[in-house]
């Protein structure tokens, strides 16, 4: 713990040292200082610990209904459209034809919320309510055998979902 703290603080000192140098260059009244206090923050950026998730909730069954209308024409029934699949592929990563899907590859379930909320349905982006995004997330996790058919997701339990490939990545700290 102490070591961690030390590393943490030395890193931070590195950064603040750099900041001081800039302060010297851009001292006092040379700083434009034009940033306005941002009171309303509406961006969606969700982390694996659940920070950034909005209120709302959705079930697998609600997600199934939504998926048929809003997603299936591009991702296929049950997410198995070739070239745009979202389901299956467990065990394929070591083969010459790996299928990287939500189920076989993605390390965090929170990423699914973040991505659907920001970037899907393609060409109608950001049109889903938070509850609809939870529902679509739940349904895709159900299709990948990660959630039960009765499951419901919300702000408090999504970050608890453990993905099959959770430990499949090596982080290169760059």
């Amino acid at each position: 713990m102490l070591i961690l703290l030390l590393i943490g603080s030395s890193l931070f000192m590195g950064i603040s040292y750099r900041a001081e140098q800039i302060d010297n260059q851009l001292g006092g009244d040379l700083k434009p200082g034009l940033g306005q206090h941002a009171l309303k923050l509406d961006a969606i950026i969700v982390s694996p610990d659940g920070v950034g998730l909005p209120k709302g909730s959705g079930t697998v069954l609600e997600g199934e209904r939504l998926y048929k209308v809003r997603c299936a024409h591009c991702h296929g029934q049950e997410g198995r459209q070739r070239g745009n699949r979202l389901v299956g592929g467990i065990g394929s990563l070591v083969t010459d034809h790996p299928k990287k899907t939500v189920g076989s590859y993605w390390p965090y379930a929170t990423t699914l919320y973040d991505y659907i909320a920001n970037a899907m349905p393609y060409n109608e982006e950001k049109s889903l309510t938070s509850s609809e995004v939870y529902a679509a997330t739940a349904y895709l996790l159900y299709l990948n055998d990660i959630l039960e058919k009765e499951a419901s997701l919300d702000q408090t339990n999504l970050a608890l979902v453990v993905m099959p490939n959770r430990n499949g990545f090596i982080e290169l700290a760059q």
Binding site: F12, A19, G35, I45, V46, G83, N84, F169
Partner: protein
């Protein structure tokens, strides 16, 4: 003394320049004759925005998209049709995941929030008032040259194969000025950058890197950056995979961990043979490609040609480039343009005499940190057969005895 410096016809440049000088002297004996229209009539009047000669129709290549989403796609710089090291803005490669947004800068903002003392928001106009820097940097998509990982070599041009790399002079505001204004809190280690496009492209970048070298770019080769490059503003992370230089930049969220967004987990990670995958492989590798002669060209005479190409590295400046004309048996040092810059394209050249036989042309770059561009076999060795990103193997061009040039694996 022989004119050759390595096998397959590579020539000492001084021998070549001397010979060329004599040819040029002879041509002064031909008298000029004013017989062309453009010599005898005034040309077009000046205009407000220029365009290339009607005789020069250079176009981007491979402008395709996703089968279910045509505006999720890319286009490649036609490297073999350009010279020097700067990519004209209209020919810079493109890669976007939900089209090119038409952003009105008056309605666009940049917000800095998360682990900061005070979340702040900038208008486009505000940023124009901050101190700026200008740097010539390359930008390379991490998927550049992915076709060369396929089992059979694709018969394509240098641009179609390797043209997801471009270069420009980028001008903008160092991000540390803006982060300092917001006040980064202790414990913060990452910054998540997000775009205002429909895909809301989002990537996590180490805070230290942001403080050291990253800018909010506002100008590209002197003019406001193009819509397909992020107008009105983009992040620019020198030396790193293009995807993290978030275009249409609208949010910077400071935090202690990465966000593990879709485009740093599902995509832009490097699957290895054992089924595990590398993540945050941000820096691009040392790499080079001969752009002339190159794929799909035809040599229509025997004699001397200038072999010329581009080299670059995400680790810093290029140190040297070697060229082989005999498939890698012997190598000669190419001449580099003066003063290679860090994270910039460096052009190399070497004269070569083609005597009509078949030949395999290759280039191999080394950067200032001693990284050497690997052979194709080495470059793909540890990755899954379906690896797509960060391929930097040596590009081989075969010249057949009838003068055709094509992509081969050796």
């Amino acid at each position: 003394m022989s004119e050759f410096v390595a096998g397959g016809g590579l020539i000492n440049r001084r021998a070549w320049v001397k010979g060329a000088g004599m040819g040029a002297a002879a041509s002064f004996l031909v008298p000029a004759a004013a017989t062309e229209d453009w010599m005898t009539h005034a040309g077009q009047a000046q205009n407000a925005y220029g365009s290339p000669s009607a005789f020069s129709r250079i176009r981007r290549e491979r402008t395709g998209g996703h089968p279910f989403a045509p505006a999720a796609g890319s286009s490649s710089t036609p490297l073999q049709k350009l010279n020097g090291t700067i990519t004209p803005n209209s020919l810079h490669f493109e890669r976007h995941h939900s089209g090119i947004p038409a952003i009105d800068p008056a309605r666009h903002t940049l917000t800095i929030y998360g682990d900061v003392e005070k979340p702040i928001r900038f208008k486009y106009e505000d940023l124009l008032a901050y101190p700026m820097e200008s740097h010539v940097y390359f930008l390379e998509c991490s998927g550049n040259s992915f076709r060369n990982t396929f089992s059979k070599p694709a018969d394509m041009t240098a641009g179609s194969l390797n043209g997801l790399v471009s270069s420009a002079e980028w001008s903008g505001v160092p991000v540390h000025y803006l982060l300092d204004e917001a006040g980064v809190k202790p414990g913060a280690q990452w910054v998540v950058a997000q775009g205002a496009d429909a895909a809301a492209m989002s990537r996590s970048i180490p805070l230290q890197r942001i403080m050291d070298s990253v800018m909010v770019a506002l100008y590209q080769n002197g003019e406001p950056i193009r819509p397909s490059q992020g107008y009105p503003m983009r992040l620019f992370v020198p030396g790193c995979e293009g995807n993290i230089s978030i275009k249409w930049l609208t949010n910077l969220k400071v935090q202690s961990t990465p966000a593990y967004t879709r485009d740093e987990t599902s995509k832009y990670t490097d699957l290895l043979k054992d089924g595990s995958a590398e993540m945050f492989s941000l820096e691009m590798e040392v790499k080079s490609v001969i752009t002339s002669p190159s794929g799909k060209m035809t040599l229509n005479r025997k004699g001397v040609y200038e072999i010329s190409g581009l080299s670059w590295s995400g680790a810093g400046a290029i140190q040297s480039v070697e060229v082989s004309a005999d498939g890698g048996n012997t190598w000669a040092q190419a001449i580099l343009q003066s003063d290679p810059k860090a994270y910039a394209l460096t052009r190399f050249r070497i004269p070569w005499r083609w005597s009509g036989g078949s030949a395999v042309l290759q280039s191999r770059a080394m950067d200032v940190r001693g990284n050497i561009q690997p052979t194709r076999d080495l470059a793909i060795q540890k990755y899954s057969a379906a690896g797509l990103y960060h391929y930097n193997g040596i590009q081989s061009w075969k010249v057949t005895s009838d003068g055709r040039v094509q992509n081969v694996y050796v």
